[in-house]
């Protein structure tokens, strides 16, 4: 039995321990927003946050997330309560086919959580693991900058996940 936090809920799952996090979230918990693209951590379509870090969930065995806090795209924001990046994604019409965009958003939101004012180089560095076959890169860049600006304007406090503190609070 493996226990972890999924989008702020405590969950447990009894499953082959080598099963990648992606398939557990998609097929066991039926959250379908995170996508399968390559199975080798090469394309980023499966990106989720593990303790605040952008991680390729298609290669991360579920046994490795025991006690961790996982956020998938479903936990980033909802149509009624969008994350500022999602707001920017809509305003700039970023998605084309849309298949990679959950992963793009998770990679971008992990970047902004650490770096509220990223340069072009920072963005390229953080986003280079995420492939978009439709070619939406320039819009992604614009939307990240716009989302970052909105977050700064709102005075969003950057929450840096500290696993030590989190464990203390939990116990």
């Amino acid at each position: 039995m493996i226990s972890f936090q999924l989008n702020n809920s405590s969950v447990q799952v009894d499953i082959d321990p080598d099963t990648p996090l992606l398939w557990v979230v998609r097929d066991h918990f039926k959250l379908k927003g995170s996508k399968f693209g390559c199975g080798m951590g090469l394309c980023g379509a499966c990106t989720m946050h593990v303790n605040g870090e952008a991680v390729r969930s298609c290669t991360l065995p579920i046994s490795a997330v025991q006690g961790a806090a996982i956020t998938s795209i479903e936990g980033l924001g909802t149509p009624d309560n969008l994350h500022p990046l999602q707001q920017a994604w809509v305003e700039y019409s970023v998605p084309q086919c849309g298949y990679c965009q959950s992963g793009q958003l998770m990679a971008a939101s992990a970047l902004l959580a650490k770096n509220p004012n990223p340069s072009d180089d920072d963005i390229e560095m953080a986003m280079n693991g995420n492939i978009c076959r439709c070619g939406t890169y320039s819009k992604i860049k614009l939307a990240i900058k716009s989302g970052a600006e909105a977050m700064r304007a709102q005075g969003n406090v950057v929450e840096i996940f500290d696993p030590v503190m989190a464990n203390k609070e939990a116990s």
Partner: protein, 734 residues
Amino acid sequence: MKKASMTRRLFLLSTGAAATGLIVGCSTAAAKGGGYSSIAGAFEPNSFIQITPDNQVIFYLPSSEMGQGILDGLTTLIAEELRVQPGAIDVRHASLHEDYKNPEMGMQATGGSNATRAQFLPLRQAAADTAAAIRNAAAKQLDQPLDKIALADGQVIVEDKSYGFGDFVAVAALMPVPENSPLRSPKQFDQIGRERPRLDALSKSTGSAEFGIDAEVENLYRAVVVRSPVLGATLLGFDASAALKRSGVVDVVQIKSGVAVVAQSYWQARQAAAALELNWEKTELASWSSDSIYNKFNETLNDSSQKGLECCDEGEGDKLLDQSATVVAADYYAPYLAHATMEPLNCTVEINGDACAIYLGTQNIQASAGAAVYYGDFDADKVKVHPAFLGGGFGRRGLGDDVAEAVLIAQQTGRNIQLVWSREDDMSNDFYRPAALVRMQAGVSEQGLIETWAVRRVGPNIMGYMLDEWVDALAPDYLNKRFVDWLSKLGRPIFNRFIADPSAGDGIYSDYDTPNKAVRHVTQDPGLRTGFWRSVGHSSNAFFKESFIDELAQSAGIDELQFRLANMKNNPRLTEATQLVAAKAGWGKPLPEGHFHGLATHSSFGSAVAEIAEVSIEGTQIIVHKVTAAIHCGMVVNPGIVRDQIEGGIVYGLTAALHGEITLVDGVIQQSNFHDYPILRMADAPEVEVHIVASQEHPEGVGEPGLPPLAPAVANAVFKASGQRLRDLPLRLS
């Protein structure tokens, strides 16, 4: 404006009509529409639109949304004529029905960049007739003259009162639906041509957009298939004993393309599949490798006894070639390419007795359903397709191979299954963009006019492989299956020996005013299956044509822009796009140190596109800093989407130009995933600037036309930067 309160008279009228509507409504719905399930009390004037009593406007989208923005575009057409905000329309993917056939293709399919062009008038007409029906019903119900009834913003407006459309649907359902109602003129347009965020952006930014791979049905098992390492080989035998012992595995079955492992989860099925032992027959393709294929192409190119098939013969053909002041010849090559859609192929199948439901994203819903009928032996009316968004299409989705596998697995195991291809499956079981080796020859006059244009082209065809898939899936089900299979195999010999495959000649001789043209194609096919790949023949032919045009201009000592303009006097659209891009990019003006411009111009899918790439060289690395593009595509529905499609075509094209190559060793595809089939990433993506030529002409394609000019624009800039004329794709400096 105040909301009208319903008078007692109106209440009686509408409820009375609704009651009758329930009886009559069914037959009218069946007669007029029928593509969708009826909703009680709704007005159902045709298969595209439903309006419910509570003011819900539903539009059934007849084309597949694979990123190209057709959901947004076609909904905008409905919104324009129906006088509703596009965002207020509930858009649903249309299932299979006669009424949803693409009017140009005669098939319910999406491809060839024609969805807007083909449906621009029919869909507006359907919406305009629906709007007229609502007005007629309102006039009758409110007992007002028709000219007092206006529609705006989803409301029926009568002097200072406004009503929801739903107030009149019951009466509308009892009245004849008008035909040929006048369409709004471009001057009246307030939706068409307007830039606003695309309608599917929200669901695709929240993970809630449903793709084929997201389908869930009761008691669903997951399946993977192990196929031959050499495409098309027959299975001689297999040992599943080890695989069957793996955790979660419930079945191992043989299907036509290989062996399927079915398990409770995808991961279990995928792990167990690695434990299968399979023995494959050796096929002819196994005797081919990329080097031997190239050598065979080259041998054929130089063997003048092989005449090939005629793609084009105009004026004196190539007879006068040697009489021109300047004669130039050069050989070019383009490799096989994979589509690599972000969403690997998948299909979910649910069988209930004699009924079969399939869930997937497909560019050809008709072929997908047909594959279930053909391979699963279902009656055509017992197959229900549940279409979803496509995680990229680019020509790959909709051949029926995914459905065939999934249906066979579901039938043999008696289970509901979801078949998911791995990235490796996807890369090595594609229908590849065909390779081609081409000899370009041209004669140019002293004034710099092209007098003769001669092309000899060697490579495989596409149509034979497409027909092999489609004839099976689309043939009427009363035909004997063995006959259909025999028929489906005729495509290859026909296109190899008798009729030139249209894609072989696409775009390789058009655009310029040359009086004498001779284009011939010699089929040379090692047996690797091929298919439609974003822009099809144009994807390689534009590279050959536009690189060669630069070679001609340089041989004649004329500026490449001026040379093109002088030779495209009969091509006003391309001329406008070319002049626009030259002005916007500053052709001929100074660039940063070490940066060089390359130009290419090409018409495809009804549109004309000119692109200028700004390139520099570092060592042997090609760096594309910026691409400026101009497109003439007629009237524009949403300018933002046009620009995105051109940029998307440029990025897709740049991946191919710099990296794209599928190679074989002993028939086995050497590329497997994104590490050895690299895709352009953000850090290497150029700045892209797209300009649209203002036009009131009928809309044309935008999904594909941005791609063809990219590779030659880059190659032409690389020549300026390095002095190396790169005639093989992908572009590699030595």
